[in-house]
């Protein structure tokens, strides 16, 4: 399925900054012409309010299993496609990435589509929650809200 390439980062949860280059390298290879990397960066505003801090928490074993399932299913649905998803947990400073999705494919169309599908499934299916703290000191768990609403 992955054409013999070792993929050290397929699905992972990490407390520190996400190594985007490592996630990209994990999927890219000489047979893949197109690599699409999505970074979900923490923003300094939400719904008109100023966000000072974001923190993510997860039900880790289930989140890990569901991330791996998403990767496996996407890779199984298209020839030569490779996917890596890394989600950061804990406090993520403004401007840094909370999630990175790297997809490599022989075909750019498939790479873009798998990237979007991975992101939508991540947001719906993986037990990870986001807590926003605002400049007035209040905080709330964001529920049923897009990572980056369209």
């Amino acid at each position: 399925m992955t054409e013999g390439h070792a993929s050290p980062v397929r699905a992972s949860l990490t407390e520190g900054p996400i190594d985007t280059a490592a996630a990209t390298d994990a999927v890219a290879g000489a047979t893949c012409g197109a690599v699409v990397v999505f970074l979900g960066n923490v923003r300094n505003h939400h719904g008109g309010r100023t966000v000072t801090e974001l923190a993510y928490s997860a039900y880790r074993p289930m989140a890990q299993a569901r991330l791996e399932q998403i990767v496996t299913e996407l890779e199984g649905a298209a020839t030569g496609l490779r996917v890596a998803i890394v989600h950061r947990l804990g406090v993520v400073p403004i401007g840094e990435a909370s999630v990175v999705i790297a997809v490599a494919s022989p075909h750019r169309q498939a790479a873009y589509e798998a990237s979007r599908t991975a992101l939508e499934r991540l947001k719906r299916e993986v037990p990870i929650w986001k807590r926003e703290t605002y400049d007035d000191g209040s905080a709330t768990w964001r529920e049923e809200e897009a990572l980056a609403p369209a």
């Binding site: 947001k123 299916e125 993986v126 037990p127 929650w129 964001r142």
Partner: protein, 89 residues
């Protein structure tokens, strides 16, 4: 039997981040666990209908019978919506 309950996000704000041990009769269901939890933590009651419940990592229905030593997780909606609604069947 002893059931270990983990809570996250808004549910953890109510019952705490640490696992809670609940004593239930044999044959108790997820729904009856919910009733016990809402009695012990009244602030959980308005939240309960929106929670997905996972048993040993699998999202289950309220009618699911619990086994002794099961790990039950209370999962509020995630950013893209409710896990229970959107999980594949």
């Amino acid at each position: 039997m002893q059931i270990r309950v983990l809570a996250f996000a808004t549910a953890a704000d109510v019952i705490g981040k640490e696992p809670v041990e609940i004593d239930l009769e044999a044959g108790a269901t997820v729904d009856s666990l919910g009733a016990s939890l809402c009695q012990q933590f009244p602030a959980l009651e308005p939240i309960w209908p929106r929670l997905a419940v996972a048993v040993d990592g699998e999202v289950v229905r309220g009618s699911r019978t619990l086994e002794a030593d099961a790990e039950v997780a209370l999962l509020p909606p995630v950013s893209g919506g409710s896990i229970v609604r959107d999980a594949r069947p």
